[in-house]
């Protein structure tokens, strides 16, 4: 008897319930999207509602975060079910090809990955970097400008990185030596980048825009992917990975390198110790200022690489304010990924996925009116993520605190 009671008690474990709720909501959402596309509204609604109930129970069981996650997931299942009745299946099917979505996801995620990795170095060393947005923007401009003037995309990338490092240095001087409020300083960096790039862009290119023959960063063709065995999988893989930009592959190299540096080298240990307890690091002879300067400058260079990818690898031109808040999304991804390289990368994939999905939905005929609303999707997702859907993430202990040498 008591064994049964224990089983019941176990089944009522709020954590399991919460996960179950999230799962139910996702299943509901999955059902309404192609290739499944269940046309009967009640099924996903019932599943979604069950998810919401599980979430509510989880909340009452004390695990509020997980519970709200389940409620959100269930609610999105229900919402999806209602939306689906307003869309016609053939359109949705034709429009929502998953390989396109995944390919676009990787493209949208890449600038965020660079910037998030950049932010990680800065914040792990204890300097908050709100200026990622500006560093990306200046990288985007100088990358395009450099490639235009030198005729080489390699030099374009290098010039872009140098400009980002320079802006990173400005942030570093104010944040480290002058001990300014780092958030205010980062905001100033964003203003400066916006003003400088806009000014130079108008002064140099005027109304004509950047030239059409900017040397673009090439794509990497991987034709062999289509020959991978089970039939269908190969072509699916090829349509996703077969024609990605060089910078996208480079971002994965940078990702692994960042992880190696930060968690497998003495330098990484120093960076992290400076970010957690600068006084202790100083005591054992680590140069707090030196490490922080290097980290913030690296941060600027990496963020600028994200910008260079935007201008030279993605749209192949520069327009004013073309980063459109990506630096901030990268920062959110960093927080969501708990200041870890692969965590942040996972988060950027999530936001990339949301960004890739939005234009797909806009193609659905009967949803055209709501097209603009879908543009808000990545931002809503970021807000939900930052609100701590999956646990509170704890920043490096000395993040944002200036250090005064004694």
């Amino acid at each position: 008897m008591s064994a049964v009671a224990a089983r019941v008690e176990e089944a009522r474990d709020p954590r399991l319930l919460g996960l179950l709720g999230i799962g139910l909501g996702l299943v509901a959402l999955w059902l309404v999207l192609p290739p499944e596309t269940v046309r009967v509204v009640p099924v996903p609604v019932v599943l979604g509602a069950a998810g919401v109930v599980c979430g509510a129970l989880t909340i009452s069981g004390g695990r509020r975060r997980l519970g709200w996650g389940a409620v959100f997931s269930g609610a999105s299942g229900i919402l999806g079910a209602f939306l689906i009745t307003r869309a016609s299946v053939p359109h949705l099917d034709a429009v929502l090809t998953w390989s396109t979505v995944f390919g676009a996801m990787l493209v949208f995620a890449t600038p965020l990955t660079y910037a998030a990795l950049g932010g990680m170095f800065s914040e792990r060393s204890g300097v908050v970097n709100i200026g990622l947005e500006g560093m990306m923007l200046i990288g985007a401009f100088f990358g395009a400008y450099g490639a235009d003037k030198t005729g080489s995309w390699v030099l374009g990338i290098l010039i872009g990185i140098a400009s980002g490092c320079a802006l990173g240095l400005v942030h570093a001087v104010f944040a480290i030596h002058l001990r300014a409020n780092q958030i205010v300083g980062g905001t100033a960096i964003n203003f400066l980048a916006l003003g400088i790039t806009g000014y130079l862009y108008n002064d140099i290119y005027g109304n004509n825009g950047t030239p059409n023959d900017l040397p673009a960063i090439p794509n990497v063709h991987l034709a062999f992917l289509s020959s991978i065995p089970p039939h269908g999988l190969g072509s699916f893989l090829e349509s996703i990975f077969g024609d990605l930009n060089l910078m996208i592959w480079l971002s994965y190299v940078v990702l692994v390198l960042s992880w190696l540096v930060l968690f497998r080298t003495a330098l990484g240990l120093r960076i992290r110790s400076v970010g957690e307890h600068p006084r202790a690091a100083d005591t054992v002879g680590i140069s707090v200022y030196g490490i922080r300067y290097a980290s913030v400058v690296t941060s600027g260079g990496l963020a600028a690489m994200g910008g260079v990818f935007l201008s030279l690898g993605f749209v192949n031109s520069f327009t004013e304010d073309m980063t459109a808040g990506r630096g901030f999304i990268a920062l959110a991804a960093l927080i969501f990924g708990r200041w870890r390289p692969f965590g942040a990368f996972g988060a950027t994939l999530l936001f990339g996925f949301a960004s890739a999905l939005a234009p797909q939905f806009q193609n659905v005929q009967s949803w055209q009116t709501y097209g603009t609303l879908f543009e808000a999707l990545p931002y809503v997702l970021t807000l939900v993520a930052v609100a701590g859907l999956i646990g509170r993430s704890i920043p490096p202990a000395a993040d944002g605190r200036p250090y005064a040498k004694q």
């Binding site: 975060r65 709100i130 400005v170 104010f174 002058l178 001990r179 300014a180 409020n181 958030i183 205010v184 300083g185 905001t187 100033a188 960096i189 964003n190 203003f191 400066l192 980048a193 916006l194 003003g195 400088i196 806009g198 000014y199 108008n202 002064d203 808040g325 901030f328 920062l331 959110a332 927080i335 055209q368 009116t369 709501y370 603009t372 609303l373 543009e375 808000a376 931002y379 809503v380 970021t382 807000l383 930052v386 609100a387 701590g388 509170r392 200036p402 005064a404």
Partner: protein
Amino acid sequence: MSDQPPPPVAVPDERLPFAERYALWQRGGGIATPLATAVVAFAMGGLVVLATGHNPLQTYRGIFDGSGLNWLFPWVTGAARQTAAFNLQETGLLMIPLILTGLAVAFAFRCGLFNIGGQGQYIVGIVTGTQIGVWLASLPGPLHIVIAVTAATLAGAVWGGIAGFLRATVGAHEVISTIMLNWIAIWVGSYLIGFGGPFQDHSQPGVPVSRPIAMNAHLPVFWGNPLLQGLDIGFFVALGMLVLYWLVLRRTTLGFEVRAVGFSPDAAANSGIKVARSYFLAMAISGGFAGLAGALDILGWQFRLDVTTIQIASQIAFTGIAVALLGRTTAIGTFLAGVLFAGLVNGTSTANLDPSVFPPQLAGNLTTIIQGLVVLFVGADVLILYVWNLRRKARVRRAAPPAAAAVAE
């Protein structure tokens, strides 16, 4: 820099770090830093102008004339005076949202929060204000205006309150959440009045614009021609809000708690102040200021909302950040910085800046650069003290014989 106010402590302790010494000095009422900040920022902006082959003095002169501030000079007469009056009315109109979005930043800042969400709060306010202005056409004018303005203020407060709530409950950083709320407001607003949106003017399906607000919701104009964007009474509302800001911060329990939390959340919590409540209220009140700015803009001179207004709201709100920081988050400082930036933005607009002096599309970006420099230097006011101190140290060293200096060390 010799006319700086003396530090409140007779002999500043040399062993204190810069930041602390600076704080002591600032509490003595330092206006020198904001002034020096502005001067340095303008000088550096001038260098940018010079480097790209234009004359900085003529450029600034052109911007000054474009802002209409030359109306204040009695020797400007005749047609020039009329132009100046017209320009100054426009600058005054611009001051309204800049002061209010400045207050939106300033109030949160006093609570230790950085509200970059003025843009979203302004958009939510302007959309709400517009729609109330369209809907309740049968109400008497003053009542209609009051309802529209109140609703917009509340909408802004809700939008800011979301960020405050998230900060207070789950600790989500307000900088990230307000920026996300900005983008959500932009897209939702663009949807509402965009093509096929519920609030779009259905008589012109090809134009993404709202219906015009009812005549009785127009704010009365007290200076200039109502048909040519004269200055409306929203200006006095903005001035009233400056007074209200000062009163709330300095004369109410709420303001005391907000400032206490801003100085030190831990100390405030220990003395029984509900920190989470302060965070929420500070963000909601901040959002209210920005929402009010949106309502006054639409009821004062825009009269109908188009998608472009929503998309360029970022310019107003981000200038508001510079206004608040340059104004040291004080009421009087926000007013003065509001005059400065309204003049700068209006003076560099395409309509007001003489293209033969300086290309306006460059000048708009010059304004952004100057804003950036202002925020950068205001954030690091220690720099100015640092330079000042270096000079003093050098003077001391020169005055004292080497041996004595060695003993002193």
